[in-house]
């Protein structure tokens, strides 16, 4: 490095791969969300279910250790916290409402403002491709989803195994549960990231974005239920995106009910279609950003 007379210092070092830009974008975007008090309030609400289940698992293990004679009663009492796939699946499904609320409010920070306030120009004029930007944003949104659903579920899984008498045996016997937790979390992360990217690209301010998410996740489910009731056809439930994701989650945990098994392929198709459409909707909007 040499110092010019004007005080400006030259810099010449080989640049890193553009793929690092994905991580940089994800980190910066998450950093902006984490600075918001509202996020921490919502995250506190999201943690309530986790803390409750954490306490229940601990309490159950304590009772089983101290009152071995009452084991059948305790196990029946805490049936929903018995450490099988359904325990974690139900926990993750239970987090869906708060996840949607967090994403709806964080959407304008993560995606909308890039369009609205010129952040997109800032990003796209750097040493990255549009693809790196998309991956970075998806990582950020996916990270939020994993933080609220998958990470706590994994912590509960580890806690349950740790408190079981035969810890190693539990993990050996139930390793598929860990895979199922990660798989279900990944499906949620990918789908919700893409939906947020698409809706955030078009509805950049908080209020329209929240309204659009209310339509997708709060209004569509009763409509789907109503149509299913009217036409007596389960396939109408496919209109409920959460239901589709949940069905895939059940498949991940190996707990799909028989009556839903035949709809599972349709649900998968709907979820894949939503992902593809979201990408197709978002990319032209991002490409259309005027740089100068």
């Amino acid at each position: 490095m040499s110092t010019l007379s004007s005080g400006y210092r030259e810099f010449s070092e080989a640049p890193r791969s553009a793929w690092w830009g994905c991580w940089t974008i994800a980190r910066a975007s998450l950093g902006l969300v984490f600075r918001r008090k509202l996020f921490w309030i919502l995250f506190a609400f999201a943690s309530l279910a986790f803390l409750f289940l954490f306490a229940v698992i601990y309490f159950r293990a304590t009772l089983l250790a101290n009152m071995p004679d009452a084991a059948p009663f305790v196990e029946r009492l805490f049936e929903r916290a018995s450490g099988n796939g359904e325990t974690y699946r139900d926990f993750m499904v239970g987090q869906e409402v708060i996840t949607v609320i967090i994403l709806a409010f964080a959407g304008s920070i993560l995606v909308g403002r890039d369009h609205q306030q010129g952040g997109m120009i800032f990003f796209l004029s750097r040493r990255i491709h549009l693809f790196h930007y998309l991956v970075g944003k998806l990582l950020a949104v996916g990270g939020l989803v994993l933080l609220v659903t998958t990470l706590p579920a994994l912590v509960l899984y580890i806690q349950f195994g740790y408190l079981t008498e035969d810890t190693l045996g539990y993990f050996k016997e139930n390793w598929r549960i860990a895979v199922a937790i990660v798989s279900f979390g990944s499906v949620m992360a990918v789908v919700l990231s893409l939906v947020l990217l698409a809706t955030g690209s078009w509805m950049q301010k908080s209020v329209p974005l929240v309204l659009s998410w209310i339509c997708i996740f709060l209004i569509m489910p009763p409509i789907a239920g109503f149509l299913r009731h009217i036409y007596d056809d389960r396939r109408w439930l496919l209109l409920n995106l959460w239901w589709d994701i949940r069905l895939i989650g059940q498949w991940c945990f190996g707990t799909v009910r028989e009556r839903h098994a035949e709809i599972l392929p349709y649900a998968s198709i709907v979820v894949i279609a939503v992902c593809v459409v979201s990408l197709l909707v978002a990319i032209p909007k991002i490409r259309a950003v005027k740089v100068a």
């Binding site: 690092w20 750097r126 740089v291």
Partner: protein, 321 residues
């Protein structure tokens, strides 16, 4: 020597609208001004040079890179300062600049260090830990420039860098740009409507009109293409003198000071005719100096030449936003 920019037959269409028409130009390293009215194609040209827009036809090489193929690598060596804010609310000044550095391929610690250095160089060190929403217009412009300079690019693309600045801020920004443009092997392209800014910072200019290049070259070359314009001074009653000059086919623009006009002689009329007419009118010519045309006049002349019927009014031509 590697050519800075080389555009060959570049045409770009937005649907049926042609934004750039068969643009061919080449420039060596240095400071280049880009001038044109709204819709002239400046934005499109910037996007093409930056590698964000693939031209419908033609070849583009910038800093030796084939732009459509290696746009990402190119942007690592280019710094772009957009006209609009392009800020990320919620970030502090130093974080914003460091983020720009990281996205240009720098390691995190390097980017942070460079961000501090660049902000100090641009006299923003006191504000570097403030949220960028609290910055004044001038500070935002300097912050954008810092984000543009952080990775020490070989080429700067600056879009209206003095927009919204007060006179002092504008002078400071132009001084800064002149200093940056003066560094060896560094270049800048300055897109602005303020032709004075270009004259002060740049050595070369590209004048665009309706997607065509109507003038390009060094500012001196563009000025020199006006040989028949003079400043004429005389003593005595000039009314008959001026009438006779007009009969000769000359255009006379009255200047604010007495007995002084700007004279445009037809090409076939030699200057000795002016002295002959002065003698006939009984006035004494005290000065007949070839006028040093400024860039603004050259710009209007070139635009008018491209559209003989259209008269470009100086006050509207420069008011593009």
């Amino acid at each position: 020597m590697e050519s800075l920019i080389h555009l060959e037959g570049v045409t770009h269409h937005y649907g049926s609208f042609c934004a750039l028409r068969d643009v061919t130009l080449g420039f060596e390293a240095g400071a280049i001004g880009l001038v044109g009215q709204n819709g002239a194609g400046k934005t499109t040209m910037m996007q093409i040079i930056l590698g964000l827009l693939r031209p419908s036809r033609g070849k583009v090489r910038v800093l030796g890179f084939d732009v459509p193929q290696r746009g990402v690598e190119l942007r690592g060596r280019v710094g772009y300062m957009p006209e609009r804010d392009a800020l990320i609310p919620g970030l502090k000044g130093v974080e914003y600049v460091a983020l720009a550095g990281e996205l240009c391929g720098m390691r995190r610690q390097q980017a942070k260090r460079r961000a501090h250095e660049t902000l100090s160089y641009l006299e923003l060190e006191d504000a570097r830990y403030r949220n960028i929403e609290t910055y004044s217009v001038g500070m935002k412009q300097r912050l954008k420039l810092a984000a543009t300079l952080v990775h020490d690019p070989d080429l700067l693309l600056l879009d209206e860098p003095t927009a919204g600045l007060d006179p002092d801020g504008r002078a400071a920004m132009l001084d800064l740009l002149s200093a940056i443009a003066g560094r060896p092997l560094k270049s800048l392209i300055l897109s602005t409507h303020l032709l004075g800014d270009i004259e002060r910072v740049c050595r070369h200019t590209i004048i665009l009109d309706q997607g065509r290049v109507v003038g390009q070259g060094s500012i001196d070359e563009l000025r020199d293409t006006r040989p028949s314009c003079y400043q004429l001074r005389w003593q005595g009653d000039g009314r008959e003198f001026l009438n006779l000059l007009r009969e000769l086919g000359a255009t006379v623009d009255v200047l604010p000071r007495p007995n002084r006009v700007r004279l445009h002689l037809p090409e076939h009329v030699p200057t000795r005719e002016v002295f002959a007419i002065a003698l006939q009118a009984g006035v004494l010519v005290t000065g007949l100096e070839p006028e040093q045309e400024n860039l603004e006049s050259a710009y209007h002349r070139l635009i008018s030449a491209a559209h003989p019927v259209l008269t470009v009014r100086p006050e509207t031509a420069g008011a593009e936003s």
